[in-house]
Symmetry: C2
Subunit: 195 residues, 2 copies
Amino acid sequence: MMDRKIILASQSPRRKELISKIIPDFEIMVDASEEKTKGGLTPEETVRFLARQKAENIAKKVSDSALIIGADTVVSIDDMIFGKPTDEEDAKRMLRTLSGRQNTVCTGIAIIDTSSGKIACDSVTTNVVFKELTDDEILNYISTGEPMDKAGAYGIQDLGSILVEEIHGDCFNVIGLPLCRLAQMLKTEFDYKIL
Amino acid sequence: MMDRKIILASQSPRRKELISKIIPDFEIMVDASEEKTKGGLTPEETVRFLARQKAENIAKKVSDSALIIGADTVVSIDDMIFGKPTDEEDAKRMLRTLSGRQNTVCTGIAIIDTSSGKIACDSVTTNVVFKELTDDEILNYISTGEPMDKAGAYGIQDLGSILVEEIHGDCFNVIGLPLCRLAQMLKTEFDYKIL
């Protein structure tokens, strides 16, 4: 069943850890070119577009038969899209905005089969409910360094776990890769079965 | 802030991993005596009762100042409570029951301050929506061995991730310890601040 080579087109250590939960053997390939989004897209369209770009950039370089998986995640609230914070002030601004409210995490997945050229794209949305944060909690969280490389300035999988009261949707989506949907796409679109 | 000794009264490797995300230094103490529940309790009452029993069994043995954390988790569906499966047939029965439906994971937390004798108990409930499973998927999942030591015969944190379409509530609760509520109890009841 798990016959073809899987290539993860992402440099995220969290995506690497997530995919290894369900697929023991895979490769990682990363393209140096900066992903560029188009204007006027919704969060769902943005992440699908960027996921596809990441997968296509790698597909160009791969000559043998493989399934290439690209993914991109954004956090949004009130029509604002939050990427990674540029500095600690930016992280503070993001966390103050998220405090006591619900934000939306959206991950796009694109899978390309290099042998057939087939492409499948989808996106998964999870709602994340933050507890009310004090300014002390925000500053102490920032001082751990954890927010700085994370979209939306939080990581639910570590200390950020205590900032999140509940989620509605796929929890792995919040970390960067919705495993259930990924497995379903691999099975139904590419006949690649994990179980 | 993180001044007192923390003792986790649980032998679960998953709870150990979860608590280490938010508290770097803690000890583990386990009592050999079998926990006994009372009849006629709801899942919430059951897990609070067992969590308190675990914490109290350890508190009896600790003479210095410490916060002792006990926890217990059950999975329930249709008023049936699922603990760990007794054998593969039992796991098959559980997974067939969970397929395509929503189950409820409930974790009780009890914290005892050995210096004051104060006890705080609470429970957290998360709803877990399973995708429709084929018999092949159930048998293949059981053959990995993963279900056998898990309440409800699944572990969302590993391969079981691809069985779960979405959750509603705290995702760490599903693994065995709701970190956000635990941190909140430590802060408000015992003035022990993590952030």
